[in-house]
Amino acid sequence: MSDVIRKNAWVAGLVALLAVLLVVTKLIQPTFGVSGLESIARAALPFAFATAGMAVVVIVGGIDLSVASMMAVCAVAAAVLMERMAGVPALLIVLALGLVMGFLNGALIVLTRVPDIVVTLAMLFVWEGVALLILETPGGAASDWLEQSIRGSFLVPGIPNALVVTIICVAVVWLPIRRSKLGLSIYATGSDELAAFRSGVAIGPTKILAYSLCGVLCAFGGLSLAALTGIGEPVPGPYLLASVAAVVLGGVVLGGGRGSLLGPLIAVYILRIIRTILTLLAFDPNVTTIIEGVIMVGVVMLGTAAMMRGAQQ
């Protein structure tokens, strides 16, 4: 048991931090309750999916700069398709689209041996263009049920639907893989590529798989964007850098091999609540971003120091 806690010390710390922040929010704004939680969970939806996708590729030892633009492609595709055909097939097509985009990212990195940061930077522009080709101006219409699915808190009483949906979607994509040898291969590749190769891991396919997963999670992100706005918006939002921030704060080591998806997801909510608190305290929005940046560096620095001390004992 103590082993479990020691290995998940970072996540435990994040949960504690999240609890403290929720209490602080409640103290500042006594009326803060389920509806407040719900609005935070809804606002966090696209961030959560972008972060989950980014976390997978960072764990495998890469990075994907095209997450936000893949989300934009999926959002416009969803809005356009759902206007013309039944919701469920449209949804499946969008998920497949995400998978294909992620697969292409991974395959290009593995086959061309061009560094991941270069390939995905290039693909950022490619997917941006694709999104604009599908829909030049914001438009289309998301299915009603899609919009409804992330409102309220009827799925699990007291917990916002948006949060439940996030957890289910990420769990469905990630857990089967995490539990299989494929998941081990992803961690092994990110941890030490040479050792993984020598242990018989197929490095190339593992990387492609990780990028494909990232694509699927971005498709969920795109669907959530469509659900939030009701339409498709071809210009990507500020999800790229925010996802890197949450991944780092979530205890996933840039360079790969360490961390989980749970930490980054909690980090997403931490970052959203910090923003809420700063808004409630009526901080100048420009100062808000400065404070967010400082908090991020501070938390990662203190957390790393604490972990190192723990490891030495």
């Binding site: 082993d3 290995k7 040898k181 081990l184 291969s185 961690y187 092994a188 990110g190 941890s191 030490d192 040479l194 050792a195 993984a196 190769f197 020598r198 242990s199 018989g200 891991v201 197929a202 091999g257 360490r258 490891a311």
Partner: protein
């Protein structure tokens, strides 16, 4: 030992560009046989191992396992066909725990645990993260994992390096047992005593070619050393003879009881002004660590380093440089700014030392650079990028810039590796000239004949300790090779 041939590799050749790493290597392992694979530094052992284990494709030749050709493209396939390697660096995943590492390679857990205990590790926790375990444990785990997969042929690459003596005993015992039960073992090692204890035959590689197979018996060391050395290209004659009695003054660098865990256990030597002290060692005997410490890359575990009579503890390379110790690393790329000009590269050390923020004194700099270039006969315009020079000329720049700057103590780490003969001949006088000007030079070389050409004395490091000090006039290759393999040279010479 039976007659079943488990592994048969023959006619193996491999080139990397213009470099012929292997020309004609072969190796045959029968059931129940332990074969030592031997060869001096640079003989092509690593390349051969990579080809046998499937990490590299041979340029030509065949690798047969149990008579079937292995079309190996990766280690996983070699493993499937029954050949399991244990590499020098453990191939366990640092961020995963023991259980996950076993799952990754489909290693049966019970069998693994049995071997771990057999090999003498009793306190293993399966949820320990690999990266937090000591190196010696990792090597044992790696071996246990290999044994648990029940290989036909086991390849052990310097298995006992970094292992404490009791674990070495265990490993040798277990491996011998397994061989007696029919496993074939390829044992790559620099340690004669282990080879004598464990192996049945030895296959010797020299300059990319298998030059002989030996049956292990008393006195086989002589023959092995002879085979490993072979005929060498003459590198010229030593012109300068130094009088060792000239070093009767105080040493410039004094090293006592230097230990660097886990590889270096005790090094003592004195380096005098005007002396070139050779360092001879097989790969991985602790010489890399010794040079790293002297260059201030990280602190030693224990021991004393004195420079000009003052005790030193380097916390940063800048401390070592300030104390007059300058490293020319084995890898030229570590020392040069490849995209900058020859002039800037030569000038760099003394530009860095400028005490003020003022502009560089370009004319002054130019004169000194020109001096160095003339001296070195670098065949290029000095404004050209360093990366366009040949390897030999690059190396001349890394050494020559200290000629222009003036240096107290130069740490040369295998300065002639991969350099053509003509350039080598220019480098030895250069080193001698630095010494004649009063510099002290510590000169690690993987080419034994360089000791008599450039050094005054040589210390021989084996398994983290100095095992011999040899005068340049006695430093023929046989003597050095024997000493480097931990065989006492005094008996041999006397």
């Amino acid at each position: 030992m039976s007659d079943t041939v488990l592994l048969d590799a023959y006619g193996i050749a491999k080139s990397f560009g213009a470099v012929h790493a292997l020309t004609n290597a072969r190796l045959r392992v029968r059931a129940g046989e332990v074969v030592a694979l031997m060869g001096a530094n640079g003989a092509g052992k690593s390349t051969f191992i990579k080809i046998i284990t499937g990490a590299l494709k041979p340029g030509s030749g065949q690798v047969l396992i149990r008579g079937e050709e292995v079309r190996v493209g990766n280690p996983a396939q070699a493993r499937k066909s029954g050949l399991v390697p244990v590499y020098q660096e453990p191939s366990l995943i640092p961020d995963l725990d023991v259980t996950d590492n076993l799952r990754l390679g489909d290693t049966p857990k019970e069998s693994f645990m049995k071997w771990v205990e057999e090999l003498g590790i009793t306190d293993l926790n399966m949820s320990d993260t690999i990266g937090e375990l000591p190196l010696a444990t990792l090597r044992i785990l790696d071996l246990a994992r290999a044994l648990a997969s029940e290989p036909d042929v086991l390849l052990l690459d310097e298995m006992t390096a970094a292992l404490p003596a009791d674990l070495v005993e265990r490993v040798l015992k277990v491996v011998r047992q397994q061989a007696n039960e029919g496993m074939g073992v390829i044992y790559v090692s620099h340690r004669f005593n282990e080879i004598l204890e464990l192996c049945d035959t030895a296959s010797v590689l020299r300059d990319g070619e298998t030059v002989g197979d030996l049956t292990i018996e008393a006195g086989v060391e002589e023959r092995a050393v002879e085979l490993m050395l072979g005929q060498k290209i003459e590198l010229g004659e030593r012109k300068i003879t130094t009088d060792l009695r000239a070093h009767s003054g105080n040493p410039r660098v004094k090293v006592r009881n230097l230990a660097i865990a886990p590889k270096v256990t005790g090094i003592d030597f004195d380096l005098y002004p005007g002396e070139v002290l050779g360092v001879v060692a097989l790969e991985g005997q602790g010489q890399d660590e010794l040079f790293d410490i002297l260059a201030g890359f990280y602190p030693a575990t224990s021991g004393l380093i004195e420079v000009n009579g003052k005790s030193m503890s380097f916390k940063h390379p800048a401390d070592a440089i300030a104390a007059g110790l300058t490293l020319v690393p084995g890898n030229r790329a570590d020392a040069l700014l490849a995209q900058r000009s020859v002039r800037e590269n030569i000038a760099l050390p003394f530009s860095v030392r400028l005490p003020t923020w003022g502009a560089l004194k370009l004319r002054h700099e130019r004169e000194r650079v020109q001096f160095a270039i003339d001296k070195l006969q670098i065949d290029t315009r000095a404004e050209g990028e360093v990366q366009r020079l040949s390897g030999g000329n690059q190396q001349k720049v890394t050494i020559g810039r200290w000629l222009a700057t003036g240096v107290e103590t130069l740490l040369l780490f295998d300065p002639t590796r991969g350099i053509d003969v003509r350039t080598k001949r220019q480098i030895y006088p250069l080193v001698r000239e630095l010494a004649a000007k009063g510099a002290s030079v510590l000169f690690y070389t993987s080419e034994l004949d360089e000791v008599s050409l450039a050094c005054d004395r040589a210390i021989v490091i084996f398994n983290g300790q100095i095992v011999d000090v040899i005068d340049a006039k006695d430093a023929d290759e046989q003597t050095l090779m024997r000493a480097a393999y931990g065989l006492t040279s005094r008996e041999g010479v006397a």
